[in-house]
């Protein structure tokens, strides 16, 4: 009975591992293809030029914590672009006053009759200097990230919205690439285009996305604990297999579903192994051990694919071979 159970279990695990391997290989191929497209585009003179910047993009940042973060976001070369920073001066009033002084911000009227309903009375600041016109500050009591993003959507000047957390930063290529993908002729127009945050997080749910403002307003704005994910579930869009943003702060716990799945699959055979050893059935213990090895080797192979993608994506990546190998092993153990 237990042998049959183990046999069925082994078939299921190996089947799942093969499926994951195929999915990772497809994702890696798509990332590399998108990267090659990016290289082709960057060789074109018209790409990212002023002639292409007809579409404006508003980036809404919830809870920025330092001036340097804001400056980094303002440095994009894209022409029609604004950064809406939502702050809470009751938490850190000095940041707001420093920003107001530095960028000559003045308080302006907040449009109350917007498309979305906003709680509270937010204060809106714009710069009196034309060169800082792309920076907009909102001071409001922080309730939730979704509320902050909705507030940004209400005052956004442009029709494309990119909601970001304080630790997410767009890459220099992000805006022209996103806008270009938006204008690619497709039979069905997308309400959003999502992109990866890290090149090697193949199935990560923590994606960034550019939303159509009209679509966001139509669905009633962002809501819930994971507002971006919820919005993406409500709308029709497509996914870009390319990292267009990066996370600067390391998260304590990853919510990568692939990692969680592999960890679960690794834990179950291990438990089986120990149970089998306890009852002195070597054949069963051996089978369970082989399954553990199979899971680890799959993780190692996936890490190798991730390493290949990582090295291909980063042109300036000139790492020592021993460091690369160590990184590979560490990564595979983490996945395992």
């Amino acid at each position: 009975m237990s042998e049959n159970l183990l046999f069925g279990f082994s078939v299921a695990i190996v089947g799942a591992l093969v499926a994951i391997l195929i999915a990772v290989s497809i994702a890696a191929t798509r990332i590399l293809a998108a990267m090659r497209k990016g290289r082709m585009l960057s060789a074109c003179h018209g790409y990212g030029s002023e002639a292409m910047s007809q579409t404006g993009v508003s980036v809404v940042v919830s809870g920025a914590q330092s001036e340097r973060e804001i400056e980094e976001r303002l440095s994009s070369e894209y022409w029609r672009y604004e950064v809406i920073v939502v702050l809470d001066s009751t938490r850190d009033g000095r940041l707001l006053s420093r920003l107001c002084r530095k960028y000559s911000m003045i308080r302006v009227s907040f449009p109350t009759d917007g498309d979305l309903k906003i709680d509270g009375v937010p204060l809106l600041y714009r710069s009196r200097q034309r060169r800082y016109r792309r920076l907009v500050l909102i001071d409001r009591l922080h309730r939730s990230r979704a509320d902050d993003w909705n507030c940004g959507v209400v005052i956004a000047s442009f029709d494309c919205i990119i909601p970001l957390e304080s630790d997410r930063f767009l890459t220099s290529e992000a805006l022209p690439r996103w806008v270009m993908e938006l204008h690619e002729t497709r039979p069905v127009r997308s309400d959003f285009i999502s992109a990866q945050v890290s090149p090697t997080h193949f199935f990560d749910r923590r994606r960034v996305a550019m939303f159509s403002r009209m679509a966001v307003v139509r669905t009633g704005g962002f809501s819930g604990e994971h507002p971006r994910m919820q919005m993406m579930r409500c709308l029709r869009g497509r996914t870009l297999c390319l990292p267009l943003a990066m996370a600067k702060l390391r998260r304590r716990r990853s919510s990568n579903p692939l990692r969680q799945l592999l960890m679960t699959m690794g834990a179950l055979p291990t438990t089986l192994l120990f149970v089998s050893l306890a009852v002195q059935r070597w054949e069963l213990a051996r089978a369970a051990l082989m399954l553990v090895v199979a899971v680890y080797v799959t993780a190692l192979f996936i890490s190798t694919i991730a390493l290949r993608v990582r090295l291909a994506l980063d042109e300036e990546y000139c790492e020592d071979r021993s460091v690369s190998l160590r990184r590979l092993l560490r990564c595979s153990f983490r996945v395992f």
Binding site: M40, G46, V108, P111, L300, R321
Partner: protein, 318 residues
């Protein structure tokens, strides 16, 4: 079953080791190749610059040019240089292309490669002055592709080859020109390859040609084209009409016209909101925008316009 799992593990383990080794070797080779490429690029660029500035024959030649890889680098440099040589004698670059048969080489390279690499080689091909025979063969081979990037490369190659037929080439193009396509065509125009005659473009009956005309007018700030832009607003194609409105606004021209009001009326509520928001962001006053509003505009949209414009002005209650 245990055996199968064992075989699976061994195969993957060997695969991982081989793949890691390949990745590391590939990275090392790529670093070496990049260094060689950079030095060759610097060398070829200085030789070409000298010839462009001082003239003279190319008998001194280019180092290591007998290698295919070096000739591909030279082709890329010629294409890149051709894109930024304003007013220089382009025959020098054409002579280099003819002497080393770079056009034929690029066509072969495009035939051997796939996907975006092929597009990259075709784009380089489109930027150089190719011989008639090679151009015809390339057009025959890739001209009917449904890939939009390859189609763009072929359009660019055709514009480069026959600049006097530019309007006809754009009119004959079946695929609509996207923003990126327009900016690429505009870059050719900036190099002086296509004549900047906006009037025939704006008055054309073809969508692609009109879109290019509007793009030219917007990019070069041709305010003299006001009448043609206003006439284009009445176009039945919503994309052309919207682009014309955007152009009128980008050139900061007067908006209180019947054509603009009719265009606003044709939009749905969401589009009208976006249009008013755009006007407010561009700095138009609420009085100027009020003149654009259709007579039967909803009161809440009128209020929205007022509030949006006010959100760009200092708050006096502060």
């Amino acid at each position: 079953m245990v055996d199968w799992v064992g075989i699976y593990s061994v195969v993957l383990l060997v695969g991982s080791i081989l793949m890691t080794a390949m990745v590391l070797v590939y990275t090392r080779m790529r670093a070496c190749r990049t260094r060689v490429k950079q030095s060759l690029e610097r060398c070829y660029l200085s030789i070409l610059n000298r010839h462009l500035l001082e003239g003279g024959d190319l008998s001194s030649g280019f180092p290591l040019i007998d290698r295919r890889y070096s000739r591909l680098i030279l082709a890329t440099i010629v294409a890149r240089l051709g894109a930024v040589t304003y007013g220089y004698d382009r025959s020098v670059l054409a002579a280099v292309v003819r002497r080393y048969a770079l056009d034929r080489l690029l066509m072969q390279q495009a035939s051997f490669s796939f996907g975006m690499r092929r597009v990259q080689w075709l784009h380089t091909f489109a930027m150089i002055d190719s011989a008639e025979g090679v151009y015809r063969r390339t057009l025959r081979r890739f001209g009917r592709s449904r890939n939009r990037y390859m189609a763009l490369c072929m359009t660019l190659a055709a514009l480069n080859h026959n600049p006097e037929r530019s309007i006809a080439i754009l009119a004959e193009r079946r695929m609509p020109l996207s923003t990126f396509d327009l900016s690429e065509v505009l870059m050719m125009l900036k190099r002086g390859l296509i004549p900047v005659a906006y009037q025939p473009l704006l008055r054309s009956e073809y969508k692609n040609v009109r879109m290019l005309g509007l793009c030219i007018v917007r990019y070069f700030g041709v305010t003299e084209a006001e009448d043609d832009i206003v006439a284009t607003i009445s176009s039945s194609d919503s994309e052309v009409a919207s682009s014309a409105l955007f152009t009128l606004c980008a050139l900061r021209l007067r908006l209180d016209r019947n054509e603009v009001r009719h265009a606003s009326q044709r939009m749905n509520e969401d589009e009208r909101r976006a249009w008013y928001r755009h006007l407010a962001a561009e700095g138009y006053s609420s009085r100027a925008i009020a003149k654009v509003l259709p007579a039967n505009e909803q009161p809440q949209l009128r209020e929205y316009v007022e509030q949006t414009v006010a959100s760009y002005k200092r708050c006096l209650t502060n």
